[in-house]
């Protein structure tokens, strides 16, 4: 890759750096450090809220991996990816105003805080905190590796130096700026993702000689590429539809997404975010995956899926523009990593340290601990990314699905069903996670469904049954 393409990438890093530092200026005047550092003082407006949700959700896997799979599978994979449009409106509508009101009432700073106040159970807190720390830490480590690989392939630097550049640029603004810096840089990164994919799609269509031409080429190569069923007709409607649970409605239960649903300023910002979010998620998903499919006739025979995006950008555009567009996946990775880092840190500080180790810590101690913990976690991830341990790879396999199986019903039912109680929540978490792991190893894709579906259904039944049996003992929840 040549120097011309590097310039836009470096400009991106500098802009993000400056924005992060700028956001950190607000930190000094705060009265409650915790609310400010981990939630940005609940002050997000509509545009930033929509962008930070989109950017946090659209990670390396969807941005580098997604177009790569679409390149192999054809339009059927774009169809599958479009199930994610639902996340744009569903999360904010369903957690909605109720989550915002209740978490303000409880003064929750994390999703676990909400579960703690709702269920009044030590075990719910401990299990939730452990799941969040383990799963999100692994998800983050793998993203981190993706970020370094991308810099490596774009710049020709060694993996170590690339990792170092990536780590330093993310760590500085997250550590000192907290949530406000993360949300603000996410807004910039989300905008880059939106514009970058749009420009690249247009360039790919022009290079391919127009859409009818590209589709005809695909049809000539393998007619199944333009059907909803994939090249070997292996994508069944049941399987593709079950992604509506994994990457559509289930996203409600991802802690890094749910936390954003308690950090917005007013109902007006929420209303705006629903509309902007639907537009942005929809167009990014559609454009990005179409790029992958349309790249196939232009650059046939790419073996490694992750290289489709960088290669096609360099093929169809002048180098400086390709560099600017490739800032988009870089932005996607950074915006996911920064949110996960802050979330894991908040879980360690708020859910573990302040709950069980030192409940009476002063504001000053909390401040030192939070910043120190964020930095420390960053350093640990950095070391793990140098030579990823097996456990990380294993946990990452369960990432999204595992978190959804654990948290979906305790959060949703806890919010809307008075009879739901701690026994229901604990049973649901155990059944959901246990079944997910078992099914993954012994019976993946039961009835042609994605592995996550059965554990989510079983988790619901477990929640309802266990709550109904024990509701006499615990009584109804009074404050929801």
């Amino acid at each position: 890759m040549n120097a011309e393409a590097l310039v836009p990438l470096i400009i991106l890093l500098v802009i993000i750096f400056v924005a992060g530092l700028w956001a950190s200026r607000y930190m000094t005047s705060s009265t409650s450090f915790l609310q400010d550092y981990f939630l940005g003082g609940r002050s997000m407006g509509g545009f930033v809220l929509a962008m930070t949700m989109t950017a946090t959700y659209g990670s390396a896997s969807s941005f580098i991996g997604g177009p790569g799979v679409a390149y192999d599978k054809g339009l059927g994979w774009v169809l599958l990816a479009m199930s994610q449009v639902a996340t744009g409106y569903f999360v904010l509508m369903v957690l909605g105003k109720k989550f915002a009101i209740v978490t303000r009432r409880y003064q929750s700073v994390t999703m676990v805080d909400f579960l703690k106040s709702r269920y009044q159970s030590v075990w719910v807190v401990i299990l939730s905190a452990i799941s969040i720390i383990l799963f999100l830490f692994s998800l983050m480590a793998v993203q981190w590796i993706g970020g370094a690989r991308l810099i490596e392939s774009l710049t020709g630097l060694s993996y170590m130096s690339a990792l170092f550049i990536f780590a330093v640029s993310v760590l500085v603004y997250v550590t000192i700026g907290g949530f406000r810096a993360v949300a603000l840089t996410d807004a910039i990164q989300g905008t880059i993702m939106f514009i970058g994919t749009l420009i690249l799609l247009i360039a790919v269509i022009i290079a391919g000689g127009g859409i009818p031409n590209i589709i005809a080429d695909l049809q000539a190569e393998n007619p199944n590429l333009i059907t909803p069923y994939g090249p070997d007709r292996a994508l069944s409607p049941t399987y593709v539809s079950s992604f509506w649970i994994l990457v559509g409605v289930g996203v409600v239960a991802l802690p890094q997404i749910a936390i954003r649903a308690m950090a917005y300023k007013s109902t007006r910002s929420m209303h705006r975010a629903i509309i902007i979010g639907t537009v942005v998620v929809g167009f990014i998903m559609l454009n990005m995956h179409l790029i992958g499919v349309f790249a196939r006739p232009i650059l046939p025979g790419i073996e490694v899926g992750d290289k489709v995006m960088p290669l096609i950008a360099l093929e169809v555009m002048p180098a400086w523009l390709a560099g600017a567009v490739l800032a988009a996946p870089m932005a996607a990775i950074m915006s996911t990593v920064d949110s996960l880092l802050l979330l894991v840190s908040s879980s360690v500080i708020k859910d573990v340290y302040l709950n069980y180790i030192n409940p009476r810590a002063s504001n000053k101690t909390i401040k030192r601990m939070s910043i120190g913990m964020t930095a420390l976690l960053g350093v640990i991830v950095f070391m793990m990314a140098i030579d990823p341990p097996q456990l990380i790879i294993w946990l990452n396999l369960f990432g999204f699905g595992g978190l959804e199986a654990v948290f979906l019903w305790p959060v949703i039912m806890g919010l809307y069903w008075k009879k739901g109680n701690k026994y229901g929540a604990l049973t649901s978490m155990g059944v959901g996670f246990g079944l997910y792991v078992l099914s993954h190893y012994f019976y993946p894709n039961p009835f042609g469904l994605h592995t996550v579906v059965i554990p989510v259904v079983a988790g619901f039944i477990a929640y309802v049954v266990a709550s109904l049996i024990t509701v006499k003992k615990t009584g109804l929840a009074t404050d929801i």
Binding site: Y89, K97, R104, I226, T227, T267
Partner: protein, 95 residues
């Protein structure tokens, strides 16, 4: 059923519950549109496909038109049915 009357319910929750149900309804509609056009129009032999703007008709209606329809619908629903309210703790707030 349990006898003792629950304490007064926050009137804002009624609005919040209605809006959450709207979200569920929208996602069901979204799914039916997406599934219906994709597999309804896409199940035949690709040699017999109709094309719109160069894209196979199933894809055009399911994914492209589907997205536009959802954006219009979401915007309409939010502007017409969603209520502004205070999120802070206040007693005796009217809806």
């Amino acid at each position: 059923m349990h006898s003792n009357m629950p304490p007064k319910v926050d009137p804002r929750f009624k609005v919040a519950h209605k809006e959450a149900m709207i979200g569920v309804a929208l996602v069901i509609f979204n799914f039916i549109w997406w599934f219906g056009f994709a597999y309804g129009l896409g199940k035949g032999d690709p040699a017999d496909y109709q094309f719109v703007f160069g894209l196979p008709a199933w894809f055009f209606y399911s994914c492209v038109v589907g997205l536009v329809v959802m954006i219009v619908l979401v915007t309409f629903v939010v502007k017409v049915f969603f209520t502004d309210m205070s999120l802070e703790e206040e007693e005796e707030e009217h809806v």
